[in-house]
């Protein structure tokens, strides 16, 4: 079960990478980058997951050691939140830059966005 989700995360990662390498449209490249980002977020959450784990919230009167034995690892969840926020900022910047590119070149086709050479 969990192996399947790991494979899924890697498949999404590779699909994103494929879009970045093979597609010639700025919007599709941005979508590829987002897919890669989300695959990594998924992987990161999976790393802290344990089958049948409880939420990592300390109930009143519960011993910390007992919670640690039963709960999922909260640290990757904190990391994923950070990563999502970074991804949000990056997406905003990428889309803004895509719009500006369209204004300057009148196209999203990377074959025609080619002023720089060498």
């Amino acid at each position: 079960m969990s192996t399947g989700i790991y494979i899924l995360a890697f498949a999404i990662l590779l699909a994103g990478l494929y879009a970045i390498v093979a597609k010639k449209n700025v919007v599709k490249i941005i979508i590829g980058l987002l897919a890669m980002d989300y695959a990594l977020n998924l992987l990161l959450v999976l790393v802290g997951y344990r089958t049948g784990g409880t939420p990592p919230i300390l109930a009143e009167g519960q011993a910390p050691a007992k919670l640690a034995a039963a709960a999922v690892d909260p640290l990757p969840q904190a990391m994923v939140l950070t990563s999502i926020v970074i991804g949000l900022g990056l997406t905003a910047l990428m889309v803004a830059m895509g719009i500006r590119l369209y204004e300057r070149y009148g196209t999203f086709d990377t074959n025609r966005i080619r002023k720089l050479r060498g």
Binding site: L33, V47, I86
Partner: protein, 510 residues
């Protein structure tokens, strides 16, 4: 000294926020540039003070040494060297930017983003755990994408988009590597991860995958050949002070520094990693310089030379890894390799920033970046030409400038380590670099003016001259002060890498 360490990160990030807030009031908007320069000046003072202090561990956010998961800033020899380099180049670039950026609107936005980049780079070199390292890398990278596109012209946007796509792929690979390491060890603190991986040893397929993902991502950030495609577009397209920052410090702080840190202080030395580093370094060195020779765009030529010069640094670090991974390692020789590499890293930060700033000064005064359209500038722009010459002689490795000493040390260390072919290659690359910069001198500074703009060129504003002269003086002084520099700066920096795990014994719980 402990309370000062987080200030290196907090001050620029806080000031960036303040500048954006201040800019909403038109009367306060003029204060943006002075505030930014003041903050960077304070940062430089702090990092210079730290240079005299010992290794410092700072726990941020109320976490103590008992917790292995808290956020930790580690200020060891290498971090101190990098912090001084970053803040020095930043200060000079900011001073240069005050007159240079007048042609743009919304300069406060530039100030804020550059401050953000500086704060994030300080964070990168101070971070003691892998995830913070990743976060600061991302902040620096996002700020730099926006700064490359600052002019919003067609070619700038194109270069910035290319840079952003490749940079994001690099960051994703780094995050993948960090994730795998966390799932293997359950820790993020570099020193603890190092000791845990040391038990398992570098050989398991998962560790290999983590190392490959991390090194691949970092090579993208450092623009090593074959990951270099974005750099010759992105660095010349940015405004000149940003080119100086990107080539001067960003590719070092977020590429080469982290690479050295990860190889020595996380994975530990091994032959396999040494081969990867040395191959990338040698290829970058050779291919970068061969691509540079044919360039006629001044800034593009400088950008290709950045790839080549970073190749020297990575080659030297790779040689150090290889020496340290031998069954009976000669630590003095490994230290010499690292000394050469880190010394060249500092020198490259100085002379490449100097060259990019002088190219910006020439571009502003003549309106062109084409070498063929310049000419005769030595008579009309005396200070800029003098500084450009100092930079060119330094990068070409002419004694007594700093580039000569660092290249000499790298070549000697390579011979001593038994890599005569690579040493010969380094000599050859130095020669081609010299030829390439003779071309720059010949076409830009000597001869007759090629067109009316070049003939009418006058000297740049005083602040721009000051910035260039400061760097030129440092280029000369750091070449002559090699012995005290080695003793007080590079010795501790090399030790920080070679004595991995030392920080753990400073009082942290494993």
């Amino acid at each position: 000294m402990t309370p000062f360490v987080p200030l290196l990160v907090i001050l620029p990030l806080g000031a960036a926020f303040c500048i954006v807030a201040m800019a909403q009031v038109s009367r306060l908007r003029r204060l943006a540039a002075p505030l930014a320069v003041a903050v960077v000046l304070v940062n430089l003072a702090i990092s210079a003070l730290l240079l005299g202090a010992g290794d410092i561990r700072t726990f941020v956010g109320g976490w103590g040494p008992a917790s292995t998961l808290g956020i930790e800033l580690v200020c060891d020899g290498l971090s101190r060297l990098m912090a001084v380099t970053i803040n020095l180049v930043s200060l000079v670039a900011f001073v240069f930017a005050v007159p240079y950026m007048r042609r743009f609107t919304k300069v406060w936005l530039f100030d804020a983003m550059l401050l953000m980049m500086i704060g994030a780079m300080n964070g990168v070199v101070l971070a003691g755990d892998l995830f913070n390292l990743f976060v600061f890398l991302e902040i620096a990278a996002i700020a730099s994408y926006a700064l490359v596109a600052f002019g919003c012209q067609a070619d700038e946007l194109e270069a910035a988009f290319k840079y952003m796509v490749l940079g994001t792929v690099g960051s994703a690979l780094i995050l993948l590597g960090v994730t795998i390491i966390y799932s293997l060890t359950g820790q993020l603190n570099m020193a603890i991860v190092h000791s845990l991986l040391g038990k398992a040893g570098l050989g398991g397929p998962a560790v290999m995958l983590a190392a490959a993902a991390l090194l691949g991502g970092l090579a993208l950030k450092a623009a090593m050949v074959p990951f270099h495609a974005w750099l010759p577009d992105a660095h010349p397209s940015a405004p000149a002070p940003i080119s100086a920052m990107l080539s001067g410090v960003l590719i070092k702080a977020s590429g080469v520094y982290v690479m050295a840190r990860v190889v020595f202080n996380v994975f530990g030395v091994s032959d396999r990693l040494a081969v990867i580093l040395m191959a990338m370094g040698a290829m970058s060195m050779l291919i970068g310089v061969l691509l540079a020779v044919g360039q006629w765009d001044f800034k593009r030529l400088l950008a290709y030379h950045s790839i080549s010069q970073m190749g020297y640094v990575v080659l030297a670090i790779g040689a150090a890894v290889q020496v340290a991974a031998r069954p009976s390692p000669d630590m003095a020789l490994a230290g010499l390799c690292l000394f050469g590499g880190l010394y060249h890293l500092l020198n490259h930060a100085m002379f490449k920033s100097l060259l990019f700033l002088s190219s910006g000064s020439i571009e502003q005064q003549t309106g062109t970046r084409e070498l063929k359209k310049m000419g005769g500038l030595a008579r009309r722009m005396k200070v800029t030409s003098f500084c450009c010459r100092v930079g060119a002689l330094s990068i070409a490795g002419v004694p007594p400038f700093n580039g000569f000493f660092s290249k000499l040390i790298i070549i000697i260390a390579l011979v001593l380590a038994g890599h005569e072919v690579l040493a010969a290659m380094a000599v050859f690359v130095a020669l081609v670099t010299l030829i390439s910069f003779v071309k720059v001198q010949r076409y830009a500074l000597e001869g007759a003016a090629a067109d009316a703009h070049a003939a009418d060129a006058v000297e740049a504003p005083v602040l721009m001259q000051t910035a260039m002269v400061v760097l030129a003086v440092i280029c000369i002084v750091s070449g002559l002060a090699i012995v005290p520099l080695r003793q007080h700066v590079f010795g501790p920096a090399a030790d920080a890498l070679l004595a991995a795990g030392k920080l753990l014994s400073m009082g942290g719980a494993p």
